[in-house]
Amino acid sequence: MLTTLVFLPLVGSLILLLLPKDRHVWLRGIATAVSAVEVLISLLLLARFVPGQAGMQFVERASWIPSIGVQYYLGVDGVSLALVLVTSLVTLLATITSYSIQQQVKEFYALLLLLETGMLGVFVALDYVLFYVFWELVLVPMYFIIGIWGGPRRQYAALKFFLYTLAGSVIMLVGILALYFGTGLGTFDMLALQQAGPRLAGSLQWWIFLAFFLGFAVKVPIFPFHTWLPDAHVEAPTGGSMILAGVLLKMGAYGFYRIALPTLPQAAHQWMLPLATLGVISILYGALAAMAQKDLKKMVAYSSISHMGFVTLGLAALTPASISGAVFVMISHGLISPLMFFLVGTVFYERLHTRMLDELGGLFDLMPLAGVIFAFGIFANLGLPGLSGFIGEFFTLLGSFSTFQTLVIVSSLGLVLTAAYHLWMMQRVLMGRAEDLGGGHGPLADISRRELVVAVPLMILVLVLGVYPGPLLHLMNPAVLHLQNVVQVASRWGGM
């Protein structure tokens, strides 16, 4: 089942490559169909998933390179299942969004589906080598998507993205190898190494954690490893930005959740404070930097940094509530940020051909429905209660408070700053008179039906998760408890 889920897009990608270049309708149709099937498969997984049960489900396991103990080992727990759902949904929506792409359609969709394979693989892999392969697999299509279909500075942005994340993942590889040789088990099995990791010497753990930290921090991104993100987001085509913000950023946080924290619990305890501090700095820094931007898309990009700071903080605090909160932020940001990028990059940009805040204004009157949706996105992003953004942030703060009192108080300043720049954004884009819009535009078409197809599912999910987060929290609760348990037991056992 998981194998089908992971490799179906790859098959789709190959099929696309066999089709003639100029049959755009076919190409789009097949890409959409494949990603829609992916959504269905992940829904099926959800339906068959047994909640309230710790441990991996839908496990698939086969020997791959037996001589060094590499396995083909897949499985999901509640957290990765949720991320799989978000991934398949966001990919489907990105596919639909990208209908407006006109050049090299075949290559674009082939890469997009390849990307989906990589992303899903990262979330379901339970073997380090497999994980690493998928991790790197994500990099390549994204590089091309930014570098070929991106904005004017796409090559710079693509290369920066590539080098940054490549450097990060190479360091991560060093960490993986150190773990492999350090434990001496001769296996890359994540779960087995999770058992063995806590028995490593403290200093070795510290160094391995450092390697993982660098690898994941670039992806999250945590300040000061974030500068690839604004460039990449701004230059990427909308579909790329949606996936980048919605899924790719979650991979780093997922790495912390799946690998760094449970495998190296003692080191995790030593790293808690620095990690949380960086998280809080990211929150404030991202918010302040967002306020200073003139480009709407960049503003949204910096807001991602700010939000991912909450994830970092929550994971670092290592309490059940904070981890749940962090994962919830991941899910909810995975829904909200694609919505925002979609509106900014496609709905507004394709009509107005500008993203500069100074040239925008009065969109509430010009595009009433799109305006309301954007306002919805803004309020979701700033953490308005009743929408999903709030729940995650609230539980993150709730859980972290007992661990890092001062940091949480400092980070709550970020809530004000976040509100400030979001409202400012709203004022400058949506409010004001229609005449404020520079460039003498004629009448604008409101959001189209196809665009609604992209926006509405995200909005519904954001609303539902905001009003009733219970099911999602319930889904990931055993996994979260398990993680917290592992870390606590191990750190006691290690006695350090």
Partner: protein, 647 residues
């Protein structure tokens, strides 16, 4: 009936949902839909109040979320305090709905206006119904959202959207304090449910320090929402919204949420003398602080706005003095007379199309209904018996008088004088004397039953609601409201003192008389008055320069900080990244390929270097055949060596 209380909140929510998603013709009837829904809610809430008065209680709770081992339930409850507030909110909301039918007629965003009104009503009712702090916070923010949208209703003007932002952000500062307060409580008790927290606090599970900290942090939220000093600056600006909105949100209901919060958490506050002290001081200071500013305002809505701030200060003073009844009683009466005053002001503004008091005057003959109802509200607020304001203000003054800090009583007394003064001034300037703008006055007229009916209803209540708490009937309200806190909560219900009543009445009459003398009797001219107290006048007129101070320190400070951060990110953090790439490339060029290095080195300015860094980096990174070869060979040899060594 009490177990059906949740219906109260359901109706407006359904109305809002219908308005948003219903297509076509139903969308056109949003006004009717909203009004009917609120009317239904009102009927239910009345029934609930009757039931609760008879001693019924109801609550329900269900599993909402689970994080780790912690269960977070969500539920609702009805007790005397919330039952009363439900009726008040529904009543005022209904009146505003009816009033707006006429006032907002033909507005560009008429439909949206009603949709948001419904959402607001729902949120406010939800805020009153929930039984835990998380729910409270959720609805707390939702009413803030509605307030934001409605203040910015006419967002074409930058000033209006600025005011909306200011309101949201200023209250958000308070909200953050409140959120931290909630976190403190959760960190110590692991629950957010009111009842659990009260019993834990009373059984001594919390140290006094924690109680004080949590209370003061919660009070921070109240300061923001209820526009108390120092977070009062948003409320006067919020008058940018439509006047009925000001009546509903910024006079009667939402701003009262802060008071409701303190009243709701009274079992907690009452355990900490320090917390109560600060509540009382904040309230007392704000009461007189805002009243002085109200004296010199020219905009009729601004006068009412500062008056609201001042009256909210009274409520906090009452609560801080330890009297739950005084605070919540004044909350109820103020809701009636202040919304009445706002709606009457709306009626005036609708008639003369100006908000400036100096452009009004002489309206009494043309708008008798409005004038009379306004005067009932004004006298009620000034504290003339037997109108509602007298009784509730009396309770507050009494509480202050009996509290350990009698200075607060004298402050409140001065504030009472000022209240009577400025409301009389506004009354005179608006309705009496000669018309200062003939053109406007001539065209002034009443605006039909839809605006007159709400005025009448509210006037009735502004006059009569006080009897509920009047000593003539044995303080029925006092006994009723005491049922909303757990037994054992310390409630200071002071003995009535004739002296207090006498002084309060004296202050009110004196205020009316002095204002009447100055503006009506012409004792001194306005100009000479201004001349005499020039520095004071400027100080008051500029609202003690608080806005300017905040503008400089917080707004400009934040903007500057954000600009610095942006520059730091662009030039330092990103610069370092690019510089590293650039340096590597330059080194490669300088050493490997002389001509390119010399030429590029000469051409590349610093700015271009940053831009070009990536381009160069790209060249360096890929494409060098020899690099590939060396890498390949190294790898092969390394593998070879490894193999040999492992043998």
């Amino acid at each position: 009936m009490a177990q059906w209380a949740w219906l109260v909140a359901l109706f407006p929510l359904l109305a809002f949902a219908l308005m948003e998603v219903a297509p076509g013709r139903l969308r056109l009837r949003r006004d009717t839909l909203g009004t009917v829904a609120v009317a239904a809610s009102f009927v239910v809430s009345l029934a609930v109040l009757v039931d609760v008065w008879a001693g019924a209680r109801a609550a329900a709770s269900w599993q909402w979320a689970q994080v780790g081992p912690v269960q977070i339930p969500m539920g609702w409850q009805v007790d005397p305090l919330s039952a009363v507030m439900l009726v008040v909110v529904n009543l005022v909301s209904l009146m505003v709905h009816v009033f707006s039918l006429s006032y907002m007629e033909g507005d560009v965003r008429y439909g949206r206006y009603y949709a948001i009104l419904s959402l607001f009503t729902f949120s406010m009712l939800g805020l009153l119904l929930v039984d835990n702090f998380l729910g409270l916070f959720i609805f707390w923010e939702l009413v803030g959202l509605c307030s934001f949208v409605l203040i910015g209703h006419w967002y074409e003007e930058k000033a209006n959207s600025n005011a909306a932002m200011k309101a949201f952000l200023t209250t958000r500062v308070g909200d953050v304090a409140m959120l931290i307060g909630i976190l403190v409580l959760f960190a110590h008790l692991g629950t957010l449910k009111y009842g659990d927290i009260w019993s834990a606090a009373q059984s001594g599970q919390l140290s006094l320090d924690v109680i004080t900290t949590a209370s003061l942090l919660l009070f921070g939220g109240a300061i923001g929402k209820s526009a108390q000093f120092p977070l009062h600056v948003w409320l006067p600006d919020a008058m940018a919204g439509p006047t009925p909105v000001s009546a509903l949100i910024h006079a009667a209901t939402m701003v009262a949420a802060g008071v409701y919060l303190v009243a709701r958490a009274f079992p907690l506050f009452s355990l900490s003398p320090t917390a109560l002290y600060w509540v009382a001081v904040t309230g007392g200071f704000t009461a007189i602080f805002a009243a002085t500013i109200a004296v010199v305002q020219d905009d009729i809505k601004k006068v009412l706005a500062y008056s609201t701030i001042s009256q909210l200060g009274y409520m906090f003073l009452g609560l801080g003095a330890g009297s739950l009844v005084a605070g919540s009683f004044h909350l109820v009466t103020q809701a009636f007379f202040k919304s009445l005053l706002f709606l009457a002001a709306g009626s005036v503004i609708h008639a003369v199309h100006t908000q400036n008091l100096h452009e009004m005057g002489g309206l009494y003959p043309r708008m008798k209904w409005t004038a009379w109802t306004w005067m009932i509200g004004a006298l009620s607020m000034a504290g003339i018996p037997p109108l509602a304001g007298f009784w509730s203000k009396d309770e507050v003054l009494l509480a202050a008088y009996r509290s350990p800090y009698p200075i607060l009583f004298w402050l409140a007394l001065v504030a009472a004088f000022l209240t009577a003064f400025y409301i009389t001034r506004a009354t005179w300037l608006a309705f009496f004397g000669t018309a200062r703008d003939e053109q406007r006055a001539r065209h002034a007229h009443e605006s039909g039953w839809r605006m007159q009916l709400p005025l009448g209803v509210l006037a009735l209540l502004a006059a009569g609601a006080g009897l509920l708490g009047a000593s003539w009937f044995g303080h029925p309200f006092t006994h009723f409201i005491a049922g909303s806190v757990p037994a054992g909560t310390h409630l200071a219900e002071p003995e009535p003192a004739g002296l207090v009543q006498g002084l309060a009445l004296l202050a009110a009459v004196a205020g009316i008389a002095v204002a009447g003398g100055i503006y009506g009797g012409g004792w001194v001219s306005r100009a000479s008055l201004i001349r005499a107290g020039r520095p004071l006048y400027v100080l008051l007129k500029r609202k003690y320069f608080v806005d300017e101070l905040y503008g400089w320190v917080f707004v400009k400070g934040t903007v500057a900080l954000s600009w610095l951060t942006g520059a730091f990110d662009r030039y330092i953090v990103d610069g370092i990244v690019n510089a590293v790439g650039w340096l590597g490339v330059q080194l490669a060029y300088a050493t490997g390929d002389f001509d390119q290095a010399v030429i590029d080195g000469a051409v590349n300015g610093v700015g271009q270097a940053v831009e070009g860094g990536g381009r160069l980096l790209r060249r360096a990174q890929t494409g060098y055949v020899s690099t590939y070869l060396v890498t390949l060979a190294t790898a092969v040899v390394a593998v070879l060596i490894l193999l040999v060594l492992r043998r």
